[in-house]
């Protein structure tokens, strides 16, 4: 019996409003770090439960304790300072890391959260890191003489954290590199830095990439030294499949079927159709079905409504194809 079409998510889940408020109160000094930590753990348990209830195969901790995907790490690493707010769009702002000295890792960054999340479930939980190229590209640099020098120091730090996650028991380690797709001329640097970041890992390695000029970076993208590349497919109306038809996608794929920027809940039929289209050029055992990107910009209700549709669609396609349902088989 064939295997495949496992279900997962890209990483982040929405923070419930009371947790957002608590983070703001903490930032203003009105709520203790201990109380915020307690609340983050309570909500992480709920996110794990809800992923189980929806029926996902491969879980994440939801990153409810993180703000921005680069700033969270930079705040914990010597060599970084954090800027005043910079606008990303409309009325959304974030504090951007600034390299002000040699960057290194002198403490665990995510391992205790991973252990806590994994202890809540029998399903495998992915270790989730931001990649060295993206950390470099999305930071200001007041210290390093070159982008490569900064990326490679970050690669060493990310590698140490990835090895620590593996040591803790993580079987899947995702190192996100969304910035890779927008500077195609630097793809060789991204490949080199990610190669250093995954050095010595036996766990299944994944990288997530979104948006960008795939006309230029595909199939060179397949040079990224990981087992699985996670891509947004739905947002670009699955037009990447035409490229896969011309040049086969040779790795495992995180296959995005939910548009995370839309409030609309997809219909089961359209998700099934997206999967079926993928199966024309990909094998089921290559495919992990997930949303296009992190779900943190949706409401909690929207996020799980979308995931319910996704899991139901996958179950029906699995049934149609006679694909075995293997609880925990991804571990």
């Amino acid at each position: 019996m064939p295997r495949g079409l496992w279900t997962t998510t890209v990483g982040s889940f929405p923070k419930p409003p009371h947790l957002e408020r608590a983070r703001q109160e903490h930032a203003r000094g009105e709520l203790s770090a201990e109380r915020l930590f307690e609340m983050e753990r309570e909500e992480t348990v709920k996110v794990i439960r809800r992923q189980e209830e929806v029926g996902l195969d491969l879980l994440v901790d939801g990153e409810l304790y993180r703000g921005d995907m680069t700033t969270y790490f930079a705040e914990r690493m010597p060599g970084f300072a954090i800027s005043n707010p910079v606008r990303s769009y409309g009325n959304r702002y974030y504090r951007k890391p600034i390299a002000v000295g040699p960057i290194r890792r002198d403490q665990e960054l995510t391992v205790s959260w991973w252990k806590f999340a994994q202890a809540q479930t029998k399903h495998p939980v992915k270790g989730m890191l931001t990649g060295p190229y993206t950390m470099m590209d999305w930071s200001f640099n007041e210290h390093y003489p070159s982008r490569e020098a900064m990326a490679m120091d970050l690669a060493v730090a990310v590698n140490e954290e990835a090895l620590a996650l593996q040591e803790a028991g993580a079987k899947f380690i995702q190192i996100d590199e969304p910035a890779v797709s927008v500077r195609p001329e630097e793809l060789p640097l991204a490949v080199k830095a990610l190669g250093r970041a995954v050095q010595g890992l036996r766990a299944k390695t994944i990288t997530h990439i979104c948006y960008g000029d795939f006309d230029v970076i595909y199939p060179a993208l397949l040079d990224l030294p990981v087992d699985m590349i996670d891509l947004e497919m739905a947002n670009s109306r699955y037009d990447l499949l035409e490229r896969f038809r011309a040049k086969p996608f040779t790795k495992e794929i995180g296959y995005g079927v939910l548009d995370v920027h839309s409030h609309r809940i997809e219909s089961k039929e359209e998700v099934k159709e997206g999967i079926r289209r993928g199966l024309e050029v990909l094998r089921p055992e290559q495919m992990y079905i997930d949303p296009d990107c992190g779900l943190k910009t949706r409401t909690v209700e929207e996020a799980f409504a979308k995931l319910r549709v996704m899991v139901e669609a996958v179950r029906e396609v699995r049934a149609e194809l006679g694909i075995a349902v293997e609880q925990g088989a991804t571990a």
Partner: protein, 327 residues
Amino acid sequence: MRFGTTLAGSYPKLPTRGGEVNLRVVRNRRDQGKATDQDVDAAIRDTTRRVLALEERAGLDLLMDGCAGWDDAQTYVACGLDGFRIAGLIRYLDTNTYYRQPEIFGPVAWKAPITVGDYEAAASMTSKPVKAFLPGPYSLYRFSKDLHYRDAVRASAAIGEALAKEAAALEEAGAEWIHFEEPWLGRARAEDAAAVRAALTPALTGRKARTVVHVPFRAPNPIFAAIRDLPWNTLGLDLVEAPAGWELIPLFPDGRGVALGLIDARNTKLEESAEVARLAMRAASLRPDLSYQVTPNASLEYLPADKAEAKLERLVEAARLAGKGVS
């Protein structure tokens, strides 16, 4: 030689001093139902006034209003044109900022002034000249999804015609300078020449105002031959991220201007004014007959407000030193 000073796009909206109106807070309060649209409009006006005053205090001689009411560099104008609707949020090139993608679903046409009210408001707040900001027609095409024309030249031409009317309305309101933001000229290839010319020719032809075509992030070398003879007044080059732009200065047509993007709007590290002055003088030595402005290489909004303010001071000092021949 005199080196002019001006911005190259929008400016951070957040204040750096306590007690000043914070547009972000007012917008959040509006979203929570605690403030009105009128409150937001007032905060936009206050922010514009503050940004203009800050530019004036720093000593810039050609001001920009900072685009306080804009969510991104495309949709504010695209929303006001017939034939466009606004779709999902996507990343703005390699900047880790985002924009909502315009979709062309029907014939593109100008119907009424979009930015003129903003220009008039800004112009009334200062005695210095204000440079109006518009998306470049070619870049607006490239940032959009074309569901109607399905033809780069026709779509670009339609956008160019529409923006020409907006530019004319700005001129009618008194604008003497108009900035067209054209990041995609730095990514255009020689085979894009027809679409580039179709977009820019109507937008630039017959202008009473002086026009700036600003190309941040990459150098427009591959497309320069196609735009060289178009009637722009100043071409803005990003000489921080795209040093290849230096090669173009000797090739400029007579009587034109160069906006020297020498202040890094995408890194917090502060430049030495003397070094920037040295580079400005080097440019001028290549073609002493051209006119020069010292500018950031891109919108200063990629920086936090405190750093943007510090960079403005360095920029003005650099232009002053270059004007005196000191570096």
